[in-house]
């Protein structure tokens, strides 16, 4: 098979081609590593690649899996036994995973070949992949721009062909926002449907892994492979496979779609972004859906609630990095207190330290009631607001990010502004509902724009279906995906 033809195959089609022996897993992997050779020095999508191990795995591949021979990248906060798992931090620079994450094992069991571990904001804390200890990742379309974050490396790898698909993790938007910035499909599944066992915790009550893919169908397929209750994660829940046929046959006709006004009309959202989202609203309406604006007053506070809760959990989750047992250890310490202080001062980057401080503040006895408890209550109210909204609407719609991918250096220059840029993605995280980011346009300068679709818990089928309609019908109307992208997800 010609390389162009090979690259045009979405992941599901590649797996079929491998199963039908039209192409071998090794050929697909070689193509990916060739792309890595060509582009990685500029992109820096990976923290580590595992060419030899992947080649052996490709050679010895069992053919029966749903994703046979698909070269996949995983974010560097997911455990793969024997490989380094750094979380983008100096703290874990040399840390080698002693076991494999459940969702990664499921990928391997379905025939995926893991290419490497992708770059990320340190411990997932960031919106641009610039807080990585190992340096920033560049946007595949424009090297002076960021690919988003924290799963920026994963998105850049998929967008550039350095992997067929990637698994990122999403706490407050870390799958959806980089997917939007890079013109890809990013799925944040219902909280608990994919096991967190082996996902290095940032904010346990919101963390979840999910696919970043070129197409909606690939997204659905990866969800089907990765989901399932896991005895090793007691917050995991059972869920059904999504039906690929039903996604293909999905129609928005008669569907009720609510548009979150507080997000779409926020002063922080760029005109270009809201224009693109309105384009989608019009399209769905034309396609027979009832599209209405919805008011959800608590959305104005979502960012605050998110940062209080996620930082509180993070401050506790990151306490184990103390230099005692593994990871970075500062030198020349004379007692445990000094060891903790120096190790953590030298081992963590600025953004991580900022969140730990914030977390400690909101959990301190002085502020626990008015910060943490208050945020918990507000989160509960927001869940009820969503629940109420889903009694009226099948889907909720909003932008993914207030802007398109920004220039490098912007996030660090104004941390508060970068926190606020999460406003569209954190509500679904707080509510634990599924949300998907689908490309829906591009800016005048050619940067991709995404739209976010949300459904009630376990509504993956609904958002994937609506996303597929958009992908199939809206793309052909507008040529938004840009050159080289086909409507079914090839490069």
């Amino acid at each position: 098979m010609e390389k162009e033809e090979l690259f045009s195959l979405p992941a599901y089609a590649l797996a079929e081609a491998v199963q039908n022996q039209k192409v071998t897993a090794e050929e697909a992997l070689d193509a990916v590593f060739q792309r890595i050779e060509e582009r990685e020095s500029d992109l820096h999508a990976y923290i580590s690649t595992r060419k030899e191990a992947a080649q052996i795995e490709a050679r010895n591949l069992k053919m029966q899996g749903k994703l046979s021979g698909v070269p996949v990248a995983i974010k560097d906060n997911l455990m793969l036994s024997g490989e380094k798992t750094t979380c983008g931090s100096k703290m874990l620079q040399e840390y080698v995973a002693p076991y494999t994450a459940t969702c990664v094992r499921k990928l391997q069991d379905s025939g995926c070949v893991i290419v490497g571990k992708t770059n990320m904001d340190e411990f997932g804390m960031g919106v641009s992949t610039e807080t990585s200890f190992f340096g920033a990742t560049s946007h595949p379309k424009a090297p002076s721009f960021v690919p988003g974050g924290s799963s920026g490396g994963a998105a850049a790898a998929v967008a550039s062909g350095e992997a067929w698909a990637a698994v990122g993790t999403d706490t407050g938007g870390s799958i959806r926002q980089p997917a939007a910035f890079c013109g890809l499909v990013g799925l944040r599944p219902t909280y608990g449907t994919i096991s967190r066992h082996g996902l290095v915790a940032f904010a346990s009550s919101m963390d979840i892994a999910g696919p970043i893919t070129r197409s909606v169908k690939d997204s659905a397929l990866f969800f089907n492979v990765m989901h399932g209750q896991d005895p090793k994660d007691q917050t995991s829940v059972p869920s059904d496979d999504v039906s690929l046929d039903q996604i293909e046959q999905y129609s928005v006709k008669g569907k009720r779609i609510g548009v979150l006004r507080e997000l779409l009309e926020s002063k922080d959202v760029d005109e270009e972004v809201s224009q693109a989202v309105r384009g989608v609203m019009d399209f769905y309406e034309r396609s027979g859906a009832v599209v209405e604006m919805v008011d959800m007053s608590l959305l104005d506070h979502a960012v605050a609630i998110y940062y209080v809760l996620s930082s509180a959990e993070a401050s506790s989750n990151l306490a184990r990095y103390d230099g005692v047992r593994y990871g970075f250890r500062a030198e020349g310490c004379r007692n445990p207190d000094e060891l903790y202080t120096k190790t953590r001062s030298e081992g963590f980057g600025l953004e991580v330290k900022r969140r730990i401080l914030l977390g400690n503040y909101v959990l301190s006895s002085e502020h626990f009631e008015d910060c943490f408890r208050q945020a918990e209550r507000a989160r509960e109210m927001m869940r009820r607001e969503f629940s109420h909204a889903f009694s009226k609407y099948d889907l909720l719609l909003s932008p993914v990010s207030a802007t398109t991918a920004p220039h490098k250096g912007k996030a660090a220059a104004d941390p508060l502004a970068s926190y606020l840029s999460d406003l569209c993605t954190v509500p679904a995280s707080l509510a634990g509902i599924p949300a998907i980011s689908v490309p829906c346009g591009q800016s005048r300068s050619g940067m991709p724009i995404g739209v976010q679709l949300m459904a009630d818990r376990f509504g993956e089928q609904e958002i994937l279906g609506a996303a597929r309609v958009l992908e199939r019908e809206y793309y052909s109307e507008t040529d938004i995906a840009g050159k080289g992208a086909s409507s079914d997800g090839g490069i």
């Binding site: 997911l78 979380c87 007691q234 917050t235 445990p336």
Partner: protein, 474 residues
């Protein structure tokens, strides 16, 4: 010195006797080589999540029910955050906001009093620091061993009450089978919160917390010492500081460890890795039904149904092993008073002579009952029975085999005894003629002679019968 009153509340940590740890499947075995019983979960590796061992809440609920406490229907776990080298996650998973049980009590007898239980909660244990000449090492094997913490109200007024409570609690937990409660091995740890005040004063004084108490004796000494120390300090016009003190067992004094002001801020918050743990009325009832008979109920039953004296019943139910031994013995010999006499007399004596505590004896429980049966059947003498019990205690000897091997069976065969008696009559003509002349008490002398001739192995009543026949037949 003015009269003062001691106010004590306790925090008792008890290691639960589950096979595996609270949040992973590592074994809980005590005394394993350092860092052999650890996995990614209990060692706090990145990406690992806790998974609750169902036995732990079950044991905790059992304990709560035995303490007459209200069981929480929707329990939660919370994280207690602090840094210490033996704490691999940087937090302990405990319960603050919705603990397992609240508002219970335990009655003590000496003096008779109800001690209120404030709450009972579950948590995971930390590792252990091991100091030696070459440095300090950490053993993480104990990380994740399940603990329950029982917090009392400040209801104690003396060291005696404290020890009486602890004794009672320990027995209860052992009867429940949820813990070994070995203070030496740290499976029961007691922190003492103590303050003093003038008799009649209503408000409580400033309290100190005392740690490192490794025996009931240490608890008793520490309470007495600390009360006196505080009272004397107040007498000198000093203020009592809210602080944590360590009991120095060697010098029998308490020493300041850290002031409360610089104590850690624990930043408790709900553990997001574990779901709410729900217990329905039915589930709680089901656990209640599986509760074994507790010491108090046993004691009452022994008095009312077995007609044992209250004193006996109290001692027999004061330790689980003793009660188990009594019941097994009863089951075999069907003679409560006899079983009780043997246990309270000979058995306790042997155990004390060996310096053993209740945990230390490993005697086969059936042995005592079998010995009593043998004696009652006249097959062995009382002296032999005692020897058998000693052998059973020391070497786990089986009574029948041991009696056989050491030729302890009583001689019951008249044909064997007759020549012995005839010889005694022959050797003591004076005594015999006096008997026949009416000096009946000489029979006892002659019986003694005959018994001695059999080396004490004759069945006394049969021997006496044979002697009687011989004395009358002339």
């Amino acid at each position: 010195m003015e009269e003062f009153e001691t106010i004590v509340g306790l925090e008792v940590h008890v290691e639960l006797k589950t096979e595996s740890k609270i949040f992973c499947s590592c074994p809980t075995t005590f005394g394993a080589a350092p860092n052999t019983h650890i996995c990614e979960v209990c060692a706090g590796l990145p990406g690992a999540l806790p998974r609750l061992n169902k036995k732990v809440p079950e044991y905790a609920v059992m304990t709560g029910l035995a303490l007459h406490a209200e069981i929480t229907k929707q329990m939660r776990f919370d994280r207690k955050n602090y840094f210490y080298p033996d704490l691999p996650k940087g937090y302990q998973i405990s319960q603050l906001y919705a603990p397992c049980a609240r508002n219970g009590y335990l009655e003590i007898d000496d003096p008779e009093k109800k001690i209120r239980i404030h709450e009972l909660h579950m948590e995971d244990d930390a590792g252990k620091l091991i100091h030696d000449d070459t440095g300090t090492y950490i053993d993480f094997s104990r990380c994740g061993v399940p603990l329950i913490e029982i917090v009392t109200e400040p209801d104690f007024r003396s060291a005696e009450e404290v020890v009486s409570f602890l004794q009672k609690l320990k027995t209860m937990l052992q009867f429940l089978g949820v813990s070994d409660c070995k203070m030496q091995e740290g499976s029961m740890r007691v922190d003492v919160n103590l303050s003093v005040r003038k008799i009649g004063q209503e408000t409580l004084g400033t309290r100190t917390e005392m740690k490192n108490l490794s025996s009931f004796r240490a608890v008793s000494k520490a309470v007495a010492y600390e009360a006196r120390r505080q009272w004397e300090a107040l007498g000198r016009g000093e203020k009592i500081l809210r602080e944590t003190r360590r009991w120095d067992e060697k010098n029998e004094i308490s020493v300041s460890m850290r002031k409360k002001e610089d104590a850690a801020e624990y930043k408790y918050f709900p553990e997001p890795d574990l779901p709410v743990l729900c217990f329905s009325e039915e589930e709680i009832r089901a656990i209640k039904e599986t509760l074994p008979e507790l010491p108090e109920e046993k004691r009452r039953r022994y008095i009312e149904e077995l007609h044992l004296p209250a004193y006996d019943a109290g001692i027999l139910t004061s330790q689980r092993q003793v009660a188990d031994l009594f019941e097994k013995t009863m089951e075999i010999c069907h003679d409560p008073k006899e079983a009780s006499n043997w246990i309270m007399g000979e058995f306790m004596k042997i155990r004390n002579d060996h310096g053993d505590d209740e945990e230390d004896f490993t005697m086969r429980e059936e042995s005592l009952g079998e010995i009593i049966l043998l004696q009652k059947a006249g097959r062995i003498s009382r002296a032999s029975a005692k020897a058998l019990l000693l052998a059973a205690y020391e070497e786990n000897a089986l009574p029948k085999e041991y009696a056989e091997a050491h030729d302890l069976w009583l001689i019951t065969d008249k044909a064997v005894l007759l020549p012995v008696v005839e010889q005694v009559i022959k050797d003591n003509p004076k005594s015999v003629s006096e008997y026949r002349a009416g000096k009946v008490k000489n029979k006892q002398f002659l019986l003694g002679q005959a018994m001695r001739a059999t080396k004490g192995k004759a069945d006394p009543s049969i021997l006496e019968g044979v002697l009687q026949e011989c004395l009358e037949s002339e």
